[in-house]
């Protein structure tokens, strides 16, 4: 039973890591039907910003919680700026172009950012300080769930609640939903669509950056390539849950995390990805729109 709980919580942590990244994919898709392949790179840039800021602050001698908070804030700001710029440079000029063009542009952006970080930093793995402290009261349970994992779970939950609140109950959230439903109509009733799209990229990038910093300090190392693998998995999770749907992305991430974790725990980690993708195929066969996705008629 304890083993089951360990595997369950491990899968949940992994799921919440995917969820923080998957949110960005799903929000952007929901609003402009674009799969933003550069999103994984935003996550990676967030982690690198966190590392740089944390290194500087460690020299200044702050305590680790203060460093964690400040590094996260810096990463959020920096990544949000990247998200904003990428949208303006790579996607906005292609807004009226066929859907394939921004997709290729996104892949190009992803390759560009990876290589940029590779050249600007290094191709080696860099150690990331464990900014999340080991809480003493957690010590008896450390073999089941670590402090870092608890912090990740709580942060993800808080981010979800805030995001849901933002979208459901604020004016800007209403404008976002309107833009997602029908961009032209939203424009006609006075929504500044360009601004809303930029805002979506900024929010998506910010959650990815939080994920980047938390995961890097949990795992303890980063390199320029981490965004690619995490991005692919998070994208899978978003599709699984129904791309475009925010609760779907979260649910899809948890389902994916659990599938992988249980596959490893009870079968073999050799088949981790096999199980994950078989599940994806099955869900897409029986529910092509994803677990919580809405089927929409193709616009002509």
């Amino acid at each position: 039973m304890e083993y089951f709980l360990e595997i369950f919580l491990g899968g949940m942590t992994r799921g919440s890591i995917y969820a923080l990244i998957a949110l960005g994919y799903t929000m952007v898709y929901g609003i402009i039907q674009l799969i933003n392949f550069a999103h994984g790179e935003i996550y990676m840039i967030g982690a690198f910003t966190g590392l740089i800021v944390a290194s500087i602050l460690t020299l200044a001698g702050l305590n680790s919680i203060a460093i964690l908070v400040l590094a996260s804030v810096a990463a959020v700001i920096y990544s949000a700026a990247y998200g904003f710029t990428i949208e303006k440079l790579a996607y906005k000029p292609l807004r009226q172009a066929p859907r394939l063009s921004p997709l290729i542009s996104a892949i190009g952006m992803s390759i560009f950012l990876q290589n940029y970080v590779l050249l600007a930093q290094t191709s080696d793995f860099l150690p990331f300080p464990s900014l999340i402290p080991e809480f003493e009261f957690m010590d008896p349970y450390a073999h089941i769930i670590g402090s870092a994992e608890v912090v990740i779970l709580i942060t993800t939950a808080v981010v979800m609640v805030l995001l849901t609140f933002l979208i459901k109950f604020t004016k800007i959230g209403k404008a976002m939903r309107a833009t997602a439903q029908d961009r032209n109509m939203a424009m006609l009733v006075g929504v500044n669509v360009d601004w809303i799209i930029s805002f979506t990229f900024v929010i998506g990038s910010a959650t990815a950056a939080i994920g980047g910093v938390l995961i890097a300090s949990h795992i303890g190392m980063i390199n320029f390539y981490i965004g690619f693998i995490a991005g692919i998995k998070a994208f899978t999770a978003a599709v699984l849950g129904g791309i475009g749907s925010i609760p779907g992305a979260v649910l899809g991430s948890f389902v994916l995390g659990w599938t992988e974790s249980f596959a490893t725990g009870y079968v073999s980690s050799d088949y981790e990805d096999v199980f994950a993708f078989v599940l994806l195929v099955l869900i897409l066969i029986f529910r092509p729109e994803g677990i919580l996705g809405r089927s929409t008629t193709q616009k002509v």
């Binding site: 595997i7 073999h143 190392m221 050799d270």
Partner: protein
């Protein structure tokens, strides 16, 4: 129309000129002993291949200064294979057509395997400073292949012997990264453990490189009650596994390979790296020939030698020695000389066994102690 034929005749003239040069080239070359140097000389793995050219250059400079081998000067013919099997076959064909007598190379196991058949057909001896894949010598398909690096077979043997005889472990988990190198090592380690009958392999699994975390695998190791984990693979996965185990308060010992015996591992895993065991080539930095070779490299190239430099240095010496002892570059005479004659090299006194693996090139066990790898005697 007129202009075109003018261009053609110029082209023909140029080709003729080159042909003449090429002929004179072969005319002189009949006198020299030609050593092909094949490996990654460009591309992202160039850092593995360039040091072997430099090693060969240094050795050959010495030999030629003393009048060459059997009164013949030695000439090096470097050829790039970018560590890609599909390029390596071209590289091999090129070297064969240039009439090389022996080849130093290739660097990567995959490229070496692809090229060996071509050399074998032309009866050319090949000696690699770095290809560690066990099948290269153990399959028996390549009688013309030799190497001055211990194969993964030896490495797995040392890991297992250490775990069983030194540490007396009874329950061992074998984990690998699903890659050619890591999985190959892990399979051998598992086989050795099972054959010994002294310990039980409680878990045998591959992890996905680059996955966000390994918590499920680590829980599994914990549940298996393994006393030690033998890991086949590279340092990023090893550090994730060891950090995960220590954070879960597990004291399971990690024993790994030369993919982990890398300073980056200690840099990344920091305090969690303490006590980790890893196998790697024997430390030969005290050997006077090593010191001399390193000095010569610094003097000639102005930098410290790179990866596999000493292995390549030793390989060039072994080839030169074999040609001298055999009295010719004849394939059978050379094979016999390589297997019977010992030669003094920076790696120690070496010769080759029936399969082509170097005798006298050893693997040691290292342990991380206070942030550095220390060789265990």
């Amino acid at each position: 129309m007129k202009k075109k034929s003018w261009g053609k005749s110029v082209a023909v003239a140029i080709i003729c000129m080159f042909a003449v040069f090429a002929m004179t080239g072969t005319g002189i070359a009949a006198e020299t002993i030609k050593i092909g140097v094949a490996g990654a000389h460009s591309g992202d793995l160039a850092s593995y291949g360039i040091p072997s050219i430099k090693a060969a250059e240094l050795v050959v400079k010495d030999i030629n200064a003393k009048g060459g081998i059997l009164g013949r000067k030695v000439e090096l013919l470097p050829e790039d294979d970018v560590c890609k099997p599909e390029v390596a076959t071209n590289t091999a064909t090129k070297l064969v057509s240039k009439g090389v007598h022996v080849v130093l190379g290739h660097i990567c196991s995959g490229a070496t395997k692809a090229a060996l058949g071509i050399y074998n057909d032309s009866k050319i001896i090949v000696m690699s400073p770095s290809a560690t894949n066990p099948a290269l010598t153990h399959s028996g398909n390549y009688p013309n292949f030799y190497r001055t690096i211990a194969s993964d077979y030896v490495q797995a043997r040392v890991e297992v012997d250490f775990a069983l005889d030194e540490m007396k472990f009874k329950k061992i988990a074998v984990i690998h990264d699903k890659g050619d190198y890591g999985k190959g090592l892990a399979e051998l380690a598992k086989k050795f453990l099972e054959d010994s009958g002294k310990a039980e392999v409680v878990l045998y699994e591959g992890v996905t490189p680059g996955a966000v975390d390994y918590s499920a695998v680590i829980q599994k190791i914990r549940r298996s009650k393994a006393e030690a984990v033998i890991f086949g693979g590279y340092h990023p996965e090893a550090s994730k596994i060891v950090m995960g185990m220590r954070k879960k308060r597990m004291k399971t010992v990690l024993i790994s390979d030369d993919g982990v015996k890398d300073d980056t591992f200690i840099k990344v895993a920091k305090k969690y790296a303490e006590g980790v065991y890893a196998t790697g080539p024997k430390d030969t930095s005290e050997n006077p020939m090593t010191i001399a070779a390193t000095e010569a490299h610094k003097k000639t190239y102005g930098s410290d030698p790179g990866a596999f430099f000493l292995n390549a240095y030793a390989a060039t010496l072994a080839l030169a020695n074999a040609i001298e002892k055999a009295g010719s570059t004849d394939y059978d005479a050379l094979s016999k000389a390589l297997k019977t004659e010992f030669v003094e090299t920076p790696l120690g006194k070496i010769s080759f066994d029936e399969r082509g693996d170097a005798i006298g090139v050893g693997i040691s066990v290292y342990q991380v102690q206070n942030g550095v790898y220390v060789e265990l005697k």
